[in-house]
């Protein structure tokens, strides 16, 4: 990839990243994050990891960011009028930012010099190469991750699913006996009777 295009994409990612943290409206923040992720996907493609770039866009932009939007809408999160009261958050945020900055500094210091970078194998970034390494070198990690994701899905469904109260036929005579608040609240007829 020409260095000019790389610089442009990198700068764009940073600007969009600022968009994520500096805007008040959470929907705008999510959109900026989606921009960052698309930009990273294009960067991957430019650096010959074409498959990974497209997977990044399919998974993160096409699915995960849409779920973020969903959560924002379902929880009805409004634009933040401005922090200032959350001193604890600020403190925690500063510490986390400092730790991240230190980590980045360490990575940049130890990054290989341009001269030291080896040439890539011919099939680098193809679907076949990616699949081969996933299903041979990283097989255990890959399968464990799959099981973990499956467990997370099952857990999410178990948490989200409403446990329905056993069906009780409510007749006027019976409704007085229904004493547990859960069942009387779930049945409007019983609720009206008891009120």
């Amino acid at each position: 990839m020409p260095i000019g295009i790389f610089m442009f994409l990198a700068a764009f990612a940073i600007i969009a990243g600022f968009g994520v943290i500096m805007q008040r409206n959470p929907v705008h923040c999510v959109l900026a994050l989606a921009l960052v992720l698309i930009d990273l996907g294009v960067l991957f493609m430019g650096l010959d990891a074409v498959t990974l770039g497209f997977l990044q866009i399919i998974v993160y932009v096409g699915a995960i960011m849409v779920l973020f939007l969903f959560v924002i809408w379902l929880l009805n999160i409004q634009a933040d009028p401005g922090a200032g009261r959350h001193l604890g958050l600020k403190l925690f945020g500063s510490i986390a930012a400092a730790a991240l900055a230190a980590e980045f500094a360490a990575i940049i210091v130890h990054a290989p010099k341009i001269r030291e970078i080896r040439t890539l194998p011919a099939d680098f970034g193809t679907v076949a190469a990616l699949a081969r390494s996933l299903f041979s070198d990283y097989l255990v990690a890959f399968e464990v991750t799959s099981v973990l994701l499956l467990a997370a899905i099952v857990g999410a469904i178990a948490l989200a699913r409403k446990v329905s109260a056993p069906l009780v036929l409510v007749t006027p005579a019976l409704s007085r006996d229904v004493s547990t608040p859960a069942s009387s609240a779930s049945d409007p007829a019983a609720h009206r009777k008891s009120a």
Partner: protein, 370 residues
């Protein structure tokens, strides 16, 4: 170098013009098709300075739908509701249309065309991971719809947007499973390569088309594709009787026209995908690069230019046939209920797609043995 750029530009322009032209023509198909199915006349009024009438030409309403309606829509007031997010309200229609249009970049319109010393691959962008590209662009398509619903500051619109994103994400999974099964059976992600692999014949006469290889995938892709285009019977996001007009309730004029165009472009896209994956793409039965090879043993040699033209025309004819088929379904079936929609997607198509994928992979491994 320069000539390559020119060739690339011409391919892209031809594709874009064809897609936009066909999308507009589909408005006409839709209206006249609906009239035909509902046993009425349909659009038949507009004329230019009475020319058609003076020469006694039958009026098929093409001027109505292709010329008069767009002019009307684009000259209407472009209203932005109070309290709307003005920037996103403006951006959303284009964000919806753009991913659909760029997906056509990988649609192969023909095999190769020889002009002088140049061999032109009749695919606007030859991408060796085209199937992934498709899934990525289709995935991004959700944003325009969802944001259009949100930015309008309207309950109905927001509900429509949320429904649309839930529906599109759900059916994308079934769609991906169908496409993956196709990819496994062809062994390539390159759409042009897939079309080439569908050349030749089985048993001496049967064209080697994907529908015979992956019938289950075809059904899944057809249903999921129709759900992606958000039209009846999957028009929950814009159900008029429930949500006014769904995510584009608060849109008017040109921006609403862009949303409408997105729907039609998606219909076209689904047809292109189905034709490419299952109906040989640009393949004409028994036509090879050097001409026809008939089952009886006859051979009709044709120059490359004629072969390329035949393939090009065959591809678009097949696409139009599937567009008409979708319009036929759209005017035949009633709308699903929301729980039926989700049940069909998650309990019907996704398990079927998984099963199909497993069987396909098993057969490929056993039969391939490479």
């Amino acid at each position: 170098m320069t000539i390559e750029l020119v060739i690339g530009a011409v391919k892209a322009i031809v594709m874009v013009l064809l897609v936009l032209g066909l999308t507009t023509m589909m408005l006409w198909f839709e209206r006249k098709g609906a009239a035909l199915i509902q046993d009425r006349v349909g659009a038949n009024r507009a004329d230019i300075f009475g020319i058609g009438k003076r020469f006694g030409m039958p009026n098929f309403g093409i001027i109505n739908t292709v010329l008069a309606d767009p002019i009307k829509m684009f000259t209407k007031e472009d209203f932005v509701p109070d309290g709307a997010d003005r920037f996103l309200h403006w951006l959303a229609p284009f964000l919806a249309l753009f991913p659909v249009l760029i997906t056509f970049a990988v649609a192969p319109m023909g095999d190769v065309l020889q002009i002088g010393s140049h061999t032109i691959d009749l695919q606007p962008a030859n991408l060796n991971v085209a199937a992934l590209y498709l899934l990525a662009t289709i995935g991004i398509g959700v944003y325009g719809i969802a944001l259009g619903g949100w930015a309008s500051n309207n309950r109905w619109a927001l509900l429509g947007g949320i429904r649309a994103s839930a529906q599109m994400i759900s059916y994308e999974i079934a769609m991906s499973l169908a496409i993956i099964a196709v990819v496994v059976s062809y062994g390539t992600l390159d759409l042009q390569q897939m079309c080439r692999l569908q050349g030749g014949v089985w048993f001496g006469f049967l064209p080697r088309w994907g529908i015979l290889l992956q019938p289950v995938s075809f059904i899944i892709l057809l249903i999921a594709g129709m759900a992606e285009s958000k039209r009846v019977p999957f028009d929950l996001p814009e159900g008029e009787s429930e949500l006014v007009a769904g995510y584009f309730t608060e849109y008017s004029g040109g921006k609403q026209a862009v949303f409408m165009m997105t729907d039609f472009a998606e219909v076209l896209l689904v047809s292109v995908l189905i034709v490419t994956f299952f109906f040989g793409g640009w393949q004409v039965p028994w036509l090879a690069r050097d001409g026809f090879h008939f089952p009886g043993g006859g051979h009709l040699g044709l120059p490359n230019l004629v072969v390329a033209m035949l393939e090009f025309v065959a591809f678009w004819v097949k696409v139009v046939i599937f567009c008409c088929f979708q319009i036929l379904i759209r005017w035949t079936l009633p709308r699903f209920r929301y729980d039926q929609l989700m049940r069909l997607g998650w309990k019907g198509l996704v398990p079927l797609g998984l099963l199909n994928l497993v069987v396909t992979a098993f057969v490929v491994v056993v039969a391939g043995g490479k």
